[in-house]
Amino acid sequence: MSTETEEKYEKYYVPEQSKWPIVGAVGLFLIAFGGANFIQQTTGKYGNDGSMGWITFAAGLTIIFYMMWGWWRDTINESMEGLYSSQMDRSFRQGMLWFISSEVMFFAAFFGALFYARALVMPWLGGEGNNVMTHALLWPDFIPQWPMTETPGGETTQGMGPWGLPAINTAILLTSSWTLTIAHHALRDGNRNALLNYTSITALLGIIFLGLQVWEYIHAYQEMGLTLGSGIYGSTFFMLTGFHGFHVTIGTIYLIVLSIRCASGHFTAENHFAYEAGAWYWHFVDVVWLFLFIFVYII
């Protein structure tokens, strides 16, 4: 019986001691502590002046990048040395899927805020339900409509239409998912040239998307008067598209790293967890955009 277990059993790699976690904890602390100071010093709200905030914040970021570089270098080396069993590969895969699930819930909080504000708060501010007096006494001039071009407090703005730039961006992201899938198939077929080309194209499409989004933001701020401060419409618009854009940035950096690793021949048709994790992440970012396009821009 025991021989049977031993035969089937592949050793699970438990790493030796590593300095990266504690380095990461220090880095994260400096980002948080410096970040809070940085924000207060930027907005000048509490008379917290000086410039230690951004210096601490930048130091934290540097340490986190150092950690990422070292930690991932260790895992890549371990993987290339063949220390990882198929069970280890499954741990990584499941870990990534649960991480993406948690990301979905982060976006869900902001989508929830959008739906709640639009479907419940706005009619209530307009006097629906048992809120007749709210409307009559506090904000009698408020007209409930979406996009909320005028807030109860009198802040005005314009709504961002879906056609034009956002539609082009949708097409770009959909195309990028398609090119990434081609690259993924090329990886499985062992076609390194196609893999490298299509991965790089995907990263490039990510960069174009980000460029267009920056352009859209400039247009919103300078010509439409649509800002973070434009009431709940501006808040949800910028927080949802902003966090999505942040995720596209991370995904694009990830794709660039993957392109470099493809060029160095790190991935084989059988062993390419890091590649697939990046692909999953990119598809997740893509799906979030589709929801954004429908609920923030179209409806």
Partner: protein
């Protein structure tokens, strides 16, 4: 070889060992338990008599806020993660957690996060003073500057919790020894995997809530500002969407502990294993659709109140299944009453009291009366102290021989139990009455008519606080000079950690998966 481990400070800073990380989590949570407990002592000292004696109202508010935050995020949650780290790999026959380095990162984020949170006490304007639920606009428009450090601290705790939860869930789904099928897993593992699922689903929502607070405070967004088309009540919805599953995150692992200990000392198998698993899963799923019972008085539409009232009451069904299960396990068992069992039985009884007051609070029309009174304080302290904390305490006594190879002093353990049992009830039971009579929570002064109950509660609280120092003493004495434990000190104990490992468990266990029948 198996027992070789690194030494010095590097052992703890750089470790990838689930047992080391489990120990660090447990010690950290106990330190936070004492810090949060000291704040509770300040609160109870101020409430010993009506009128203002020791602290000013603003500092009182800081104490209630920090006490809640530290106990929830610093004491209870990390203690459960510590137990998970120590036990899950041994109970499922794995060599370690699935992602050992990330495991260490999860832990080390916490001391930094709490250093930052606690340092807010010394910042200009004082620590956060808006209650641990940090409702807007108290936490946005009217909050002290230190709130930004609190927000970033919550982000750090959230990152730590999510990574810890991913580690647990991946370990359980991917690292089980051959033959350890899902429905053979010890219940502690089951309750923790469900807890991990809840953590992954709701911690990001908390991150969203504090992010909205941050942008409302500094960048002009209007999420919680009605004049901008937002709604302060929306904060409560988002918060409690996290907050209700959060209370199950704190209690489910304790359910698992009770389900391990009670069969061991009743010397019977658990009455209904699969019903226990399904009940836990049902509680977890229901926890996503009951959040607004925390906010019956905000002026929700009646249909909403009805929905959340009925959904909440439904939770009593799977919870009843669990309590019935524990009682039926003890029924006609050959019971002995060692310290872990005493804590486990007290857990069942006192948690049930907290459950019943929960059903009372679930009734919307009745809750209009109880809302924000000491009745609520009594309710959630009954499920948290004799619930979650007695659960952890029972677990520590039960598995201490496995961890240290030494036995605790049974007499002192029993003394710790009876003193805790007496004082926990003396502290929290009178709060039911003062609450029903209308005493509001989070106020440093009160009407003369509540004086007797408050005096009793304060005496109980001081006793309860002191008795936990006895616990510390017992644990230290065990580690330093306890009697050597047998490999299986509890003759009714089952599971891989008892059947296949010596006491103390060697530094590395199950490098080769054990055989599971």
């Amino acid at each position: 070889m198996a027992d070789h481990h690194p030494t010095g400070i590097k052992r703890w800073l750089f470790t990838t060992n689930h047992k080391d990380i489990g120990s660090m989590y447990l010690w950290f949570s106990f330190i936070m338990f004492l810090v949060g407990g000291a704040m509770a002592m300040v609160i109870r000292a101020e409430l010993y008599q009506p009128g203002l004696q020791f602290v000013d109202p603003n500092f009182f508010n800081q104490m209630t806020t920090m006490h809640g935050l530290i106990m929830v995020f610093g004491a209870v949650m990390p203690s459960m993660v510590g137990l998970a780290n120590w036990l899950i790999p041994m109970q499922i026959g794995a060599p370690d957690m699935a992602l050992p380095r990330m495991n260490n990162w999860s832990f080390w984020i916490l001391p930094f996060a709490f250093a930052m949170l606690i340092s807010s006490l010394f910042m200009e304007g004082g620590a956060p003073n808006f209650g641990w639920t940090f409702y807007a606009p108290l936490s946005t428009t009217y909050a002290p500057p230190s709130t930004d450090f609190f927000i970033l601290g919550v982000h750090m705790m959230g990152i730590s919790s999510i990574m810890g939860a991913i580690n647990v869930i991946v370990t359980v789904f991917n690292m089980r020894a051959p033959g350890m099928t899902l429905m053979k897993m010890p219940l502690f593992v089951w309750t923790w995997v469900i807890t991990a699922f809840l953590l992954i689903m709701v911690m990001p929502v908390l991150a969203g809530a504090v992010t909205m607070m941050l942008t409302d405070r500094h960048f002009g967004t209007d999420f919680f500002n009605a004049a901008g088309g937002g709604d302060p009540v929306m904060f409560q919805h988002i918060f409690w969407f996290f907050g209700h599953p959060e209370v199950y995150i704190m209690i489910l692992p304790a359910f698992g502990v009770a389900s391990e200990i009670i069969p061991a000392f009743a010397r019977k198998k658990l009455f209904g294993y699969s019903s226990m698993v399904y009940a836990t899963a049902s509680i977890a799923l229901l926890s996503f659709v009951v959040w607004a019972h925390h906010m019956f008085t905000v002026g929700m539409p009646v249909a909403g109140e009805l929905f959340f009232m009925i959904a909440t009451m439904l939770i009593a069904v799977p919870t009843g299944v669990k309590v019935f299960n524990w009682v039926a396990t003890m029924w006609q068992g050959s019971m002995t009453f060692e310290t872990p069992m005493l804590f486990a039985i007290a857990f069942v009884i006192l948690f049930t009291i907290g459950g019943f007051s929960g059903v009372m609070l679930a009734m919307a029309p009745v809750d209009f009366q109880y809302h924000d009174t000491y009745f609520v304080v009594a309710h959630f302290h009954y499920v948290l102290f004799p619930g979650a904390i007695f659960g952890t305490t029972a677990a520590v006594y039960y598995w201490l021989p496995k961890w240290t190879g030494k036995m605790y002093n049974e007499k002192l353990g029993k003394a710790h139990f009876w003193i805790s049992m007496l004082f926990v009830n003396l502290t929290f039971f009178p709060m039911h009455f003062s609450g029903l009579a209308g005493m509001p929570r989070r106020i440093p002064d009160y009407n003369m008519m509540f004086a007797d109950f408050n005096q009793l509660a304060s005496i109980g609280a001081f006793g309860l606080g002191l008795s936990q120092l006895l616990f510390l003493g017992i644990v230290i004495a065990t580690i330093r000079g306890g009697k050597k434990a047998e490999d299986k000190p509890w003759d009714g104990a089952t599971g891989l950690e008892w059947d296949q490992l010596p006491c103390p468990a060697p530094y590395h266990t199950f490098d080769t998966p054990p055989k599971v029948n």
